[in-house]
C-alpha cells in the first residue's frame, strides 16, 4: 500500500544538496553515470545545476548483472546501458535515487568494469535507507532514513515534477 505518511523532503532540494557536493568532487577527469530510472531523473536535473561543460554523462542499467534472476526475474526497463565514452582511468560517480541493500550498486560496479578500468568509483545517492547487505556504502547521501521507516522508496516523475513514492510492503 502507498504510505500516507510520506514525510520525505522535496527531491529537488536533495538534488541541489547533491549538486553542491558534486561540485567539490568534479574535475576534468570525472564522469557521471546514472542508474535508471531514478539516477537518470537526477542527472537530468543535475545537468542544469552543474557548471562543468566537459562532463560526460551516461546510464548503466544493471538488469543483466543482478543476482536475483531466479527470485525476481528480469525487469525489462525503458532505458538500457548507455556509456558512449571511455571510462578507463576516469573518476566515475554513480548516481542513484535510493541506496538500500547495496545489490544494485554491486551490479553497477560489475558492469562498469566491462567498459574499462576506472581510476575511482564513487556512489552518490539522494536517500540512504541504511540497510546494506554488502560491504558497500554510498560516499554521499543527501538524506538518511532509519532502516525500518519505509519498505520501499523510489523517485518518480509526475507531470514534470519529481516526487518520492513510498510504499509499505507487507511481507
Amino acid at each position: 500500500m502507498i504510505d500516507p505518511k510520506n514525510t520525505l523532503p522535496d527531491p529537488i532540494l536533495l538534488i541541489k544538496k547533491m549538486a553542491a557536493e558534486l561540485s567539490k568532487e568534479i574535475d576534468s577527469n570525472t564522469c557521471l553515470i546514472g542508474i535508471p530510472k531514478g539516477g537518470h531523473l537526477i542527472i537530468n536535473e543535475l545537468k542544469g545545476m552543474l557548471s562543468s561543460s566537459t562532463l560526460d554523462y551516461g546510464l548503466i542499467d544493471t538488469s543483466f548483472y543482478r543476482d536475483d534472476l531466479e527470485i525476481s526475474g528480469l525487469k525489462i526497463k525503458e532505458m538500457t546501458t548507455d556509456v558512449m565514452f571511455n571510462i578507463h582511468d576516469k573518476k566515475v560517480i554513480l548516481i542513484d535515487d535510493v541506496f538500500y541493500t547495496g545489490r544494485t550498486s554491486r551490479a553497477a560496479i560489475n558492469e562498469l568494469f566491462d567498459f574499462g578500468r576506472p581510476r575511482e568509483i564513487l556512489l552518490y545517492v539522494l536517500i540512504d535507507r541504511q540497510s546494506a547487505q554488502l560491504p558497500i556504502k554510498p560516499n554521499y547521501s543527501a538524506f538518511q532514513v532509519s532502516p525500518k521507516k519505509n519498505n520501499y522508496i523510489n523517485l518518480e516523475e509526475n507531470n514534470k515534477s519529481l516526487t518520492f513514492r513510498t510504499k509499505i510492503i507487507n511481507e
Binding site: E70, G73, D114
Partner: protein, 317 residues
Amino acid sequence: MSKIQYSNDGNIKHLLTIEGLQEELIYKIFDLAESFLNVGNREIKNVPLLRGKTICNLFFENSTRTRTTFEIAAKRLSADVINLDIDSSSQSKGESIFDTVDNLISMGADIFVVRHPEPGMPELLAKHVGGNAHIINAGDGNHAHPTQGLLDTFTIKKYKNRFDNLSVAIIGDIKHSRVARSEIHALTTLGVPDIRLIGPTDLMPTDMSKINLKIFESMDDGLKNVDVIMMLRIQKERMIGAIIPEEGEYSEKYGLRKKHLLLAKKDAIVMHPGPMNRGIEIDSDVADGQQSVILSQVTFGIAIRMAVMSMLIGKKI
C-alpha cells in the same frame, strides 16, 4: 500444446511453438532482445546473467546457423554450453532421447535446445522433463521453429516499426516449412492484416484454414505492393518424392529476381532464413542488394535467443 509452455504461475517455461503465445509476451521478448542488441555492440559482449547455468544443444538434424547462434547467445549470457555430437553419442548406440536427456539433467543441464526431424518431439521432451529443465524447440520436422519466427518478426519490427499496416509475402514450399508456419503464427498474433503465401498449389498448407491467408500461385500477382518479402529455402530433399517440380522449373516460377522487387513497395525488405540456394530461390543481386536484411536477421537471431533463454530461466517478467 501451448499450455505446456507455461508454468502454473503463468511464466513461460518452455518455448515449443509460437501458436498460442500471447502478443504481450512476444513484445516482451522483443524489448529484451533490443537490450541484448546493445550488449552485442560493446567491446565485452558477455553479461553474467546465466553464469553457472548449462545449456545443451541437442541437434538431431544438421544445422550451422541456428546451432551457432544458440551457442553464441548462451555464451554471451555466460552460460556453459554443451554441443552433443549425436553421431558419436550414446544415441548412436541405441539410447533413447529421454534417457540421454535424463542423464544430462543429472549432470546439471538447465536448458535443452532441441532440433529433431520428428514433429512434436520437443513437446514430448517438455512433458518428460517436467520442472527439471527447460526445452527450446529449434525446429521439429515441418511443425515449428519458434525462435526463427520471433527473429523474423523482430527484424520486421526493426525495419518497419509496426505490424498493423503491413503486407507480408512468404514465398516457397509453405506446406513443409516449419519456418513459414512459425512466421505465420507470429505475424497473425502481431496483427499483420495482409499475409500472402506464394507458391505451387500443392505446396500450400492445408491445416491453417482458420487463419486469414491470401494464396497466390504467381509471383507477379502476389508481390504487388508488399512491404516484406520472406523467401524460404527450397528443400531439395522434398524433390526426391517429386513433391516439388524440377529445380529449374521451380526457380523460373518462384525464384526472387530483381524485376520482382519493382512490384513490391519501394522500401520493401527481403528476408531469407538461410541457408540460401543462390540462383535458385533467390538471385545473388537480390540477396546482396540494398533491400536485403538477411544478415541482420542473423545478428538479431542472437539477441532473440538470448532473450528467450533469459526469460525461461528467470522466475517472471
